[in-house]
Amino acid sequence: MASLFKGNLMKKKIELVALILCVICSIVLIGRLFYLQVIEGDKYKQLALNQQLQDTIIEPHRGSIYDTNMKTLATSKTVWDVVFEPANLSSNDETREKELQALCDPVNGLPAILDVTEEEIREKAKNENSYWQVLAYKVDKETADQVQSFINGVGQEDRVAINCIKLSQGTKRVYPFDDLAATVLGFVNAYDNRGAYGLESYYNKILTGTEGRIVSAKNGQNGEMPFQYEKLYESQDGNSLVLTIDEVIQHFVEKHLEIAVAEHEVKERALAVVMDVDTGEILAMSSKPDFDPNNPRQLTDKQAVIRLEEEIAKKKQEQNTNPVPAEDNQQTDEQTTEQTTDEQTQQTSVEVEETTIALEDITANDLLTENLRARALSGGLTEDEFDEWLLTEQNRQWRNKVISDPYEPGSVFKLITASAALDSGSVTMNSTFHCYGFKEVAGNTIHCWKRDGGHGAQTLMEAVKHSCNPSFIEIGQATGVGNFTTYFDRFGLGDLTEVDLPGEATGIHYTADDMGIAELSSSAFGQTFKVSAIQLITGLSASLNGGNLMQPHVVRQIIDSDHNIVETIEPTVKRQVISEDTSALICYMGEQVVGGGSDATGRNAAIPGYRIGGKTGTSEKLDNFDENGVQYGNVLSFLGFAPADDPKIAVLVALDEPVVGDAQSSTIAAPVVGAMLEDILPYLGYEPSFTEEELAEQGDVTVQTYLGQKPHEAQSTIRSAGLKTEIVGDGTSVLKQIPEPGKTLPYGGTVILYTDEDEANSMGTVPDVIGRGVSDANQIITNAGFNINITGTVPEGQEEIVMTQDPLPGTQAEIGSIVTVSLEPPSEETEDTAAQTDQPVQTE
């Protein structure tokens, strides 16, 4: 035993060593490798890939937004960020200083090209390990080219080489029409090109496209791998949107809405929306004041300054009434802005008087953020308070009032009530109603707008035409809660319209369960509930177009970057709400509102030669109270549609809290819609048509004086006289008119109203029409912006040829002035006339 053990001992020891080294070590290592490669492999692989692959993102081109005629409303253009890489500066102090000097050279260096100072560059150079110090964001191609030639050292061959400036390509969103349809388009955030508001946000994914990547391998020294490893994932450019919105109509709408906001000092913004009633397409949509999407954070509403002053006054009042927190505030102020504390207290007395700043004194300069900030800080607000206020104001101007701000529709809603009443058979066109100027419902007295005596007995048509509340209470009660709420819902007023815009708000309304007689009565004439403008115009379109509730939409087509159609949004009928017959009756009643004579509430929207329908609306903001608990504020709105016999478009305008005194929608909102339609209808190809009778009445019109009037008011008067108007400028009153008062114009001639001093001197060259036919001459002169006055007659059967004209061809004359042409050869007599009509030719 012992010898056997002895003999095998060394062998056994060797075998033991071999076992340890071969088997145990191998098993340990294989186990370790299994753990590293199979179990944890993906983790290490990912770490390896992270360092090996450089992932170059290819930004897809963001799609554009076009109007219905393919005019570009929003597009992206290539811009460059100028990036400074201090890490690439030389590590040698001397060379480094040379490089910095070259960078900061005021003549050839970056301060000459970009908006940077030497101090800024040197400050950024202190971040020695940084590869990303941006000197300028989003510079255009021209500037980028200059920077590039600076980097290349063009013209400065003896200069030290610059390796620390790079151009980083990016895109910038551009809106060529500035603030046109801003609340519809929205804007993109500058830093990530994501849509932040409006269509840019709603269709962000479609517009953005898919970003591409170049995944390429690099070696450990950041060099290219000698052996190709590169994978390209193509970027997919964003698709573009073609809107239903027509830039021209949008422009008309915005122009008149802006004027309306200015002339009536609208406090809570105004809205306008134009819808194709047959398709539900939105032709124009605007909320004013809005913003310029190219610079969305810049405030545009002059009222903002007044609101800021109110804010300041409130703060001061708080400080005065609550001295203890005021001291706290004072202390924090002292910490932040020590030196201004004294000034603040000194200014307090002065500022209090200044709070009543006049709207017309506010300039665009006051609205610059820095000026507003200065005003706020000197007024005693803290930075934080100002920033919060600014954000509120910005959100306010970005808000699309049409879809986001439900309001009480007022009498405009009576068309819906009438539709429901007629379609349900609750009333007929022959039903009569009585108005004594007021009506008692469930113990409350509800007044008609005509308090003294009321409208008396009226048919349904008359009730609509007079916008009579007591009659509509009766109509509503006749319809009944069941019918009323059913139709309310069927008109889509209880649901979101699901228009393709973000931020649609749902209204507030009674349901069949909680609607009593009082609620029914007030709802019947459009009070005590809220709907959004988009809901209202969609519902009204249904009542006008033959009864079909359409799906409203803003986007007509989605097209790819090669303009191939990806998707077309066809008009969709949601449901038939009322019968065609009922719809025709509603159109008829609507036309009576505008064209029904001197007692028609909407007559200010009438345009000679066109069949216009409409409905006025003046609603009280019942949930709007001032600090004393007194309800205040009206929404003046007007719905217009044309042509009234077969409506094509509907226009809804609502002015939220205009400064109007007792004025009604009929005098404030109706002219705005009239002005819009006056521009829109000819554009859409609707020519004025007159009956024989009307034609007979048409003669020369003597121009009255409109100086000092509000533009829409003047326009409405001129329009009713059978003339056209053009408003030039965005002022609040007429400063100048061409032709001057007392002049006569042919029926349909144009009066130009200037509301802005600067615009008041536009001159044109009088064209040469001698020897031309009358209709030719008329067209040429009108196209040149002048009015024509044709004098003289020619014998029967002879051709009407212009023999003389005044002013003479080639003369400079004010746009809108009258060019008198004579069909008779010059004679003593006509020369006298010429001498007389010489007057409009201004020489100034």
């Binding site: 060394m10 060797i14 075998e15 490669q37």
Partner: protein, 452 residues
Amino acid sequence: MKKRQDPPALSKGRTTSGNTRRNQQNVISYPGKSTVRGQKRYTRPKVDSGARRMTVKKRVSRSKAYADSRGSLQPKVTPLYVWGDFDVPFLLLALALLGFGLVMLFSASYARAYYYQDNSFYYIGRQMLWSVIGVVGMVAASFVNYQWLRRFAWPLYFASLALCILPYAFDAYNGARRTVYIGPLNFQPSEIGKFALILLFAHLMSKDQKKMKHLWDGTLRYLVLFGIMAVIVVLQPHLSATVLMVGITVVMLFVGGANIMHLLGVGTVGVAGIAAMVFTMWGFFSDRFAHVLVRLTYWLDPFSSNDAGAYQTKQSLMAIGSGGLLGVGLGESRQKQLYLPEVQNDFIFAIICEELGFVGACIIIILFALLIWRGYTIALHAKDRFGALFAVGIITQIGMQAMLNIMVVTNTIPNTGISLPLFSYGGTSLCMIMGEMGLLLSVSRQGIYEKE
């Protein structure tokens, strides 16, 4: 303790080699028959194959030479060369690993060579040249009678001590002086030092076999011899070579029959002593071995550090992990593209793992395991005690180096510069290893194979 008379060699009951030879001759002449004295038959494996006939004849002639040299002449004259069969599996495994190593060296190094040397073939070209020299050297060494080397045991030891001091005269590379530069050549004297230790220990342990149980003659003497060299090497500083020397010394003492209690006792005292010394002379050690401590922290969690020292380990782990089960494919490694330092050298195995995956790495490990196993088999069948210990020393050195390298690469142990035998770039080192393997083959030529 009773003195035990150990047999001269592993085989049982033999008294003289001449006798053994005759027995063997009988066996070969009459395969399958029982041998003289009823003992087990000694035989070569697969003696019945046709190719064996040639070797049978040779064996006869060699036996005559032995009979002449050992039987008739006194004192014995050890011949310079030996002639006979060597261990073919060991050679095949070695050549397979060498071939594999060359392919992988090219794959791992060309990117680095291209980038830094402007020549993709910089490393592989040189390595192939050295491989040819190495193979020739290995074959040549296999003919050298290892017995003959015994006379150089002491001279080589002292020569290598001197050589190990030489690097101190040269410029430091990466803070260490490990290498001697002679013209275009360079080599690490510690490689020779390791071999010198193996040779000396095998020589002494077989010569003074009877004294192995003595504390001084069996244990301490060797530790002192080792210690002198280790101190020189460790101060270069060259920790990995020192670690290998420790491994070689411990394994040889263990196999050579040192008293286990002595070994453990001395080991304990030694560790305690080194600890005390490090503790008391902290200022001296902290400078020289600071990198060792830092490497320990890198080892525990390499990804927590952004230091350059942890970089290598991190890159290695990423390469290994990237390989997954089947690897990214030969030549497809991305980590070799200047990420992983020393791809051609200490960290070549990481690239193997990346390109060939878990499966390929396992094949390499198994090939190494088989090579090592075969090496120990040669030791087990060595003709004499010296040959056995010599073979154990050599194969322990190669095996430990391979296993430690893979452990370093996989971060199983802290990072220490240790190359992978037959794979890593380095001509002199390759030749040294192949020469040692040739000597191992030489041991196998004289080996006695017992059919079990």
